[in-house]
């Protein structure tokens, strides 16, 4: 009797967590569309959505250029920001769970830098791989990102068999520094692609058309599915690989699936928006505080909160010194780096104290 009550209560609290996260996401998206040089009320946005999706006749007071702004400029930007944020947060949560390292995220592990090198390389040489066409850029960044991840992990393992948190982070920094210099080298050698590379590097979701959204979408879906389907395995990994194996997890296969899923998400996000740091670190951490460490809740919630976070960060980036825009990576790093410092501080305190 008491049991079924607590069961219900637990289930209810999970449902409430999802409902709240969903509403925050909707609100962030609407806010992202609404605010700008031209302020558009929520009601108008809803009407435009209904009009475009179901052909509901539009109120005469909404001029056609507003429809244009919402559907072609603001919505793609907001959706892209959401997908990028969701990807990075999900990847971060997965890395943290798998490596049992609360400070791991695509950025600190060097995966973002690795993916950037691939992307800059493609831009620098203007490469187009046949058959995949415009998917060349994301495909190459995903692959270089994944390669970087394996390199970092292999190196960290060679340094110290038990792969402590500090070693992995430090290795990530070494690789990031090396890749930054590679990027600088390509920038120094480049002529005409300079502007393109620089603006891409700063990290932005501005002036991206629906093309970009469509580019990231398949990777986002596959990557998210790979991770969400491995949430129980991630829970097992949280207690160590040996324990996971004892519980019946096929460690090697599952680990590979999770690493590939997370790299797909990171690579695709980097390909469309450049390096945006710390989203994968801060969002899962806050989500964990709200909803616990259980990955079956943590992953979907991180997805929703990560998306919302980046939509709001982007909103801040384009309004704070309006009419000029800040690169979105600046905003996330301004929030993320101190948060990282705090986490690291608390962690070491707990360890030594």
């Amino acid at each position: 009797m008491q049991k079924s009550f607590t069961q219900k209560f637990l289930n209810n609290s999970t449902v409430i967590l999802y409902v709240i996260a969903f509403f925050i996401a909707c609100f962030a998206i609407l806010l992202g569309i609404s605010i700008g040089s031209l302020s558009i009320p929520f009601s108008s946005i809803m009407e435009i959505f209904l009009h475009t999706l179901f052909g509901v006749p539009l109120d005469k007071e909404i001029p056609p250029n507003i429809v244009q702004v919402v559907m072609s400029i603001r919505l793609p930007r907001v959706v892209l920001a959401f997908l990028v944020g969701a990807s990075l947060a999900l990847a971060g949560a997965a890395f943290q769970g798998l490596l049992k390292n609360a400070l791991a995220d695509p950025y600190t592990l060097g995966v973002s830098s690795g993916a950037s090198v691939g992307a800059v390389f493609v831009l620098f040489f203007g490469i187009q791989i046949p058959f995949i066409g415009k998917f060349t850029l994301p495909a190459v960044s995903i692959i270089t990102g994944l390669c970087t991840l394996f390199l970092v992990l292999a190196f960290a393992r060679a340094v110290e068999r038990k792969m402590s948190i500090e070693t992995i982070i430090l290795t990530g920094i070494i690789f990031s520094a090396f890749f930054s210099s590679l990027i600088s080298l390509m920038i120094a050698l480049t002529g005409e692609e300079l502007r393109q590379i620089i603006s891409w590097l700063l990290g932005s979701v501005a002036m991206r058309s629906w093309d970009y959204t469509l580019m990231i979408l398949p990777f986002f879906i596959i990557g998210s599915l790979l991770l969400l389907l491995n949430s129980r395995e991630l829970n097992a990994f949280a207690f160590g690989e040996t324990v996971a194996a004892n519980l019946g997890v096929d460690v090697l296969r599952r680990k590979l699936m999770i690493l590939i899923g997370a790299s797909l998400l990171t690579g695709a996000a980097v390909a469309v928006s450049g390096t945006i740091g710390f989203v994968g670190l801060v969002v899962p951490h806050i989500t964990r505080l709200v909803g616990g460490a259980n990955h079956r809740r943590l992953l979907p919630l991180s997805l929703l909160y990560g998306g919302s976070f980046l939509v709001l960060a982007d909103l801040l980036a384009r309004t704070i010194i309006s009419p000029r825009e800040l690169p979105i990576g600046v905003i996330t790093s301004l929030i993320g780096a101190p948060a990282f410092a705090l986490l690291y501080f608390n962690r070491m305190k707990r360890k030594t104290g």
């Binding site: 607590t6 049992k100 207690f239 324990v243 019946g248």
Partner: protein
């Protein structure tokens, strides 16, 4: 259930395990014992499929271990590692639910009633049901270990592998866990294979034990066959002493500290004991603890003692629990009852006799109080209807400056008894009921106390030097005491 055939394993160049062969039956509690670095943990890792042997085979239910799928294996074998990385943010329930992983389908896992039942039962068995919503990181070390035990149980395994399961636990938790495991091996036919670091716990609980030394098998057998002094001394490189457990038929191992014994020099027994006597009690205090073998009211059996009390009680002393009353009496007079030998007598204590004897290698002191109101002829005792409890008893304490073996203690007791019987005979003490010569009284008491230093006596029979001395001093002391007793009786009349 599990067969291990000639397995070996090496880390790089170092051979960790060599030629290990044994089998474990269903429902057995099987222990793995050995010092650090003997390969215990490696062996357990081989059994849990974490490592694979370099040569040899391991069969589980007749099937080679490496052919099991990870999930299939986890449905049969659960592992409780020595230390588990604590993961923050999981509740006890969530951690235990992971145990059901192997029983669920991979793609679309469904939480069934069976899963729920297994988790609930596991939580109740380790008594963590009330704490199921607490965070694992908020629990104590012992409780955490129980969480992981519950998780292993939720796997519904046939075999449970444990690496030093009692680590991080206090003694009551250790016993509780092992009692539970033992019960499960009987009730559920669960097979338990566990590494132990405590030889005594292993020999108390295990059906059989595998003893490892430097990666090689010393043997597999029942603990009582395997746990002998020489083997353990060799394996653990420390001095050990085997004894019997006081209440269960299992061996008990004690380690001998390497402490320089002070006062090693042979001395006179009179320098080592001080005697204080008054009307109420005779108190003999020793400088250092003596090892005593006695039938005394307090401190019977083998015991180390520093105080020996022979207490005078009135002739009409009656008490239902004399032992407890005596303990209270001793406590009241400031004695540590764990270090005190306590006897009682109705005889006047001023009639006690003290006989001192010095030989070449040793010296001894015998203290006797004698009363024969209850004199009994043991050969005719069966004829007596009922035991008439009158006052009168012979209490003997023998202090020896020397080292006695257990055999010597037992022989000393025989020798002293024989001397006493002869003394009674020569004093013509008669059993009043049967009118035949008495051999003792119905409540005689004896204590043999030795310093356990100095000369070593393997035996103390009647023709050994120590035996002769005991016999002579007991005989003399008893005769003197009996004469005083008779004198006192005559005075009364």
């Amino acid at each position: 259930m599990l067969q291990v055939k000639d397995i070996s394993y090496r880390y790089q160049h170092e051979i960790v395990l060599k030629g290990i062969t044994f089998s474990v039956e269903k429902g057995e509690l099987f222990g793995i014992l050995g010092p650090n670095g003997s390969g215990k943990t490696t062996l357990l890792k081989l059994l849990s499929k974490e490592l694979s042997p370099e040569s040899g085979t391991i069969l589980l239910n007749g099937k080679i271990l490496s052919t099991y799928g990870q999930k299939e294996f986890a449905r049969i074998v659960a592992v409780l590692p020595q230390t588990v990385e604590t993961s923050f943010g999981y509740t006890v329930q969530e951690a235990v639910e992971l145990g059901r992983y192997a029983h669920q389908s991979s793609l679309f896992p469904k939480w069934t009633d069976k899963d729920e039942k297994a988790v609930t039962e596991a939580l109740q068995q380790v008594e963590l049901w009330e704490k199921r919503d607490k965070g694992v990181d908020s629990l104590s070390g012992g409780e955490r270990q129980r969480v992981y035990l519950a998780r292993a149980l939720a796997q519904n395994p046939e075999v449970l592998l444990l690496d030093e399961p009692t680590n991080h636990m206090d003694i009551s938790q250790q016993m509780k866990l092992l009692n539970t495991l033992k019960r499960w091996t009987k009730e559920k036919k669960l097979t338990v294979i566990a590494i132990f670091h405590d030889i005594n716990l292993a020999s108390l609980y295990c059906d059989r034990v595998l003893l490892l030394h430097k990666g090689e098998m010393i043997g597999v057998n029942k603990p009582r066959h395997l746990v002998d002094e020489q083997t353990l001394q060799k394996v653990f490189q420390t001095s050990v002493k085997r004894q019997e457990h006081p209440t269960v038929p299992k061996p008990l191992i004690t380690f001998l500290p390497n402490i320089e014994a002070f006062g090693e020099q042979r001395g006179d027994i009179r320098d080592k004991v001080t005697v204080k006597a008054n009307d109420e009690m005779i108190t003999i205090k020793t400088m250092q603890p003596f090892k005593v073998f006695s039938s005394a009211l307090v401190g019977a059996g083998f015991q180390w003692a520093t105080h020996f009390v022979n207490r005078h009680v009135p002739k009409d002393y009656r008490c239902d629990d004399a032992c407890e009353e005596m303990k209270q009496y001793l406590r009241m007079h400031g004695f540590d009852i764990h270090r005190t030998i306590g006897m009682m007598t109705a005889v006047r204590l001023e009639d006690a006799t003290y006989v001192y004897m010095k030989e070449e290698h040793f010296s001894l002191l015998t203290v006797v109080t004698a009363g024969v109101g209850n004199a009994v002829d043991i050969s005719k005792a069966w004829e007596r209807e009922m035991l008439v409890q009158g006052p009168g008893t012979i209490n003997m304490m023998i202090f020896i400056d020397g080292h006695l073996t257990d055999a010597a203690y037992a022989q000393a007791m025989m020798t002293a008894t024989e001397a006493k019987v002869k003394a009674l005979f020569d004093e013509q003490i008669i059993d009043p009921e049967t009118a035949t010569p008495a051999t003792g009284t119905s409540t005689d008491c004896i204590a043999i106390a030795a310093t356990q230093k100095g000369h070593y006596f393997e035996y103390a029979g009647t023709i050994t030097s120590i035996g002769k001395a005991i016999g002579r001093s007991v005989y003399e002391a008893t005769r003197q005491a009996l004469q005083k007793y008779k004198q006192r009786r005559r005075e009364y009349q």
